[in-house]
């Protein structure tokens, strides 16, 4: 194998596939990165067997030449060293050459590295998914779907299914739903018409996979293809192939958790509320999910308070745009509330309470595409 490649493109692909490579895998060859050259270009592969990522650098695209002098072949390189070496090479052009003894020469300017490679034949083959359950979504929308839900997955392995995000198609809408049983985050987007016969509801993607995918994808209005089989999901763009296993088990029915009536309704500035809760949370650093209290006051005002006997207390009044219904005193995790408010991009939010002991709902003020639910904390 031999090729000459542009360093920046190589570096970008390396960074993408590194997201799947772990130094703590039980399969030694998976600590390496597979490099494969064909007449079409160079493909890098990384995998920790939960997630597999392939990134392709075409020989030429839009008239720009990225790879030259290709002699096809493949090799596995130690992922612990390869990325740093490429990052620090002195020139924009990098030559990579493998001899018959798996010695890999990496040359750039006057620098020459010789690394011990591993036989690419020993690297596991990635499954090529064949499925009719495929659809496309714009990349920036997929990134929103992930960002607005994935923070709410459970970090505990007590109920492993809750460490994933439930992907569901219902009434021509695609839902992402995550819950750790103390709060729930849901985001939906309309599906394209021709896909409205698509249907699945028990697809659960590990939160970690979606977090890594979100890091790799650049904001773009181009589309990404999503394909689903019984136990795997594939996200594919022109040069990226991101495969993740799905979680086993039945995702709980979450729609019943959402109250369909409310007793106190508040419209309020998202950022003002977020910042006042952030301040109130400061004194409760010791508690993992610092608890703050919200009390409705006269004239559309609410009061945010927090109390930590050893440190002190904080009181802040915030004026709501509107405040209707019953008076209310409710306590909740400042962290959960801040997580929810941070992913709502509208200037104002709509918060609906159904009493101090019932879950409450947070939505953007002018649409129902995002829904955040939080269970209050009992403080007496």
């Amino acid at each position: 194998m031999k090729f000459t490649i542009q360093r920046d493109q190589l570096m970008e692909s390396i960074q993408d596939v590194m997201k799947a490579i772990s130094s703590r895998t039980t399969i030694p060859i998976l600590t390496g990165m597979k490099v494969e050259a064909t007449e079409q270009g160079v493909k890098l592969t990384g995998s920790d067997s939960d997630i597999s990522i392939e990134s392709f650098i075409p020989k030429e695209e839009d008239g720009i030449v990225y790879v030259e002098n290709i002699q096809p072949g493949s090799i596995v390189l130690q992922a612990k060293y390869f990325p740093d070496i490429v990052r620090k090479l002195p020139q924009q052009t990098v030559e990579l050459e493998v001899d018959d003894h798996l010695n890999v020469g990496i040359r750039s300017g006057s620098a020459e590295f010789n690394l011990n490679g591993q036989d690419a034949e020993e690297y596991p083959h990635l499954p090529q998914l064949q499925t009719e359950q495929s659809f496309e979504v714009p990349i920036d929308l997929l990134k929103d779907l992930i960002r607005q839900t994935v923070f709410a997955v459970s970090t505990s392995e007590t109920r492993p299914i809750l460490t994933g995000v439930n992907m569901m198609v219902e009434n021509s809408e695609l839902y992402f739903i995550a819950t750790d049983s103390h709060r729930l985050a849901s985001r939906k987007i309309p599906m394209q018409e021709q896909l409205q016969n698509l249907s699945f509801n028990n697809i659960v993607v590990p939160g970690k996979s979606l977090t890594e995918l979100n890091k790799i994808l650049d904001d773009s209005q181009e589309t990404i293809e999503i394909s689903v089989t019984e136990n795997q999901i594939l996200f594919r763009t022109q040069h990226l192939y991101f495969l993740s296993r799905l979680l086993d088990g039945n995702y709980p029915e979450t729609s019943r958790l959402i109250p369909d009536q409310s007793k106190t309704i508040m419209h309020i500035d998202t950022k003002e509320l977020l910042q006042s809760i952030d301040r109130a949370a400061l004194l409760a650093k010791e508690n993992r999910n610092s608890v703050v209290k919200l009390t409705t006051k006269a004239d559309n005002h609410i009061e945010i308070t927090s109390n930590s006997p050893e440190v002190g207390k904080v009181v802040e009044e915030v004026e709501a745009e509107s405040l209707e219904g019953e008076e209310l005193k409710i306590s909740f995790s400042a962290k959960y509330m801040m997580d929810a408010l941070k992913v709502i991009d509208t200037e104002k939010v709509n918060i609906q309470f159904t009493g101090a002991m019932r879950p409450f709902l947070i939505r953007p003020i002018d649409n129902d595409q995002i829904l955040q639910l939080i269970l209050p904390v009992r403080t007496y």
Copy 2:
């Protein structure tokens, strides 16, 4: 006590004095920050008993009012909470008020914090140094003196004196010298004429103190006053008072370590050499101080190599501007070499070797104000 203060100025002072506050001190009140209001302004104090820092915010300076409505008094606040609270306050103006029960009210906009304070009478008094051993240096030069030497102090407590930087006046020059016994870094600056009768040579300032001082000082051509007593050193600007203890013991005589002859002399581009050593060091990640080898070649060339049997090897040729004297093969710590080259700001360096087993010297090409010495590594 009561005052109204501008948040940005308060925050800046808090960040400075926090550099002296440790949560792991054995004297509980030192986990707090002392706040003292006088008719002149507000003074903050932090100390871990090794380092003490005072920062003063004047009532008014250059026609700008920083503090208003002052009722003199003092209090100690928990340093774990106070900085975050001030950082997150909603408005530029902050009101601080202490009642007779040591309750501290902090108000800004509609946010109101009430913190439990501690009696300022219990806070230790900082010594006010009286000394005739005082002199001034420009702040940017002091920052250079620190930056170009402090990295070479020992991190091991085997010889505690080596964890400090030796400050010395000799032949009308001020020296900073640090060594961990494997390498030495020295920087000197000329003293102002009227101070040439000043003399001290066994002043050893803890490296940690100088590192913290360097973080606090902003680059500036204004001067800082340095005062030395037997066991303490004080750095003072208009609004900052930085006091550090000195290390006990005799600093070793280092001038004898410096070879006065050389057998191989090289002039070379600082950055090119630094980058090639950085690359060669990549394969030797496992060793704490990865060892690289330098070999002189024909036509003013040198070769930098490194070899790690399990990973591979790297070879790189670098062209020197000039290369005179005996042929040479020498091995040394890549980390020490990079540390030394990074603090030499000139485009070219002068490196003088006295054989493979003798320390070698690195200097800027056109002056001798910086001197870096490194002991080679025996590789056979």
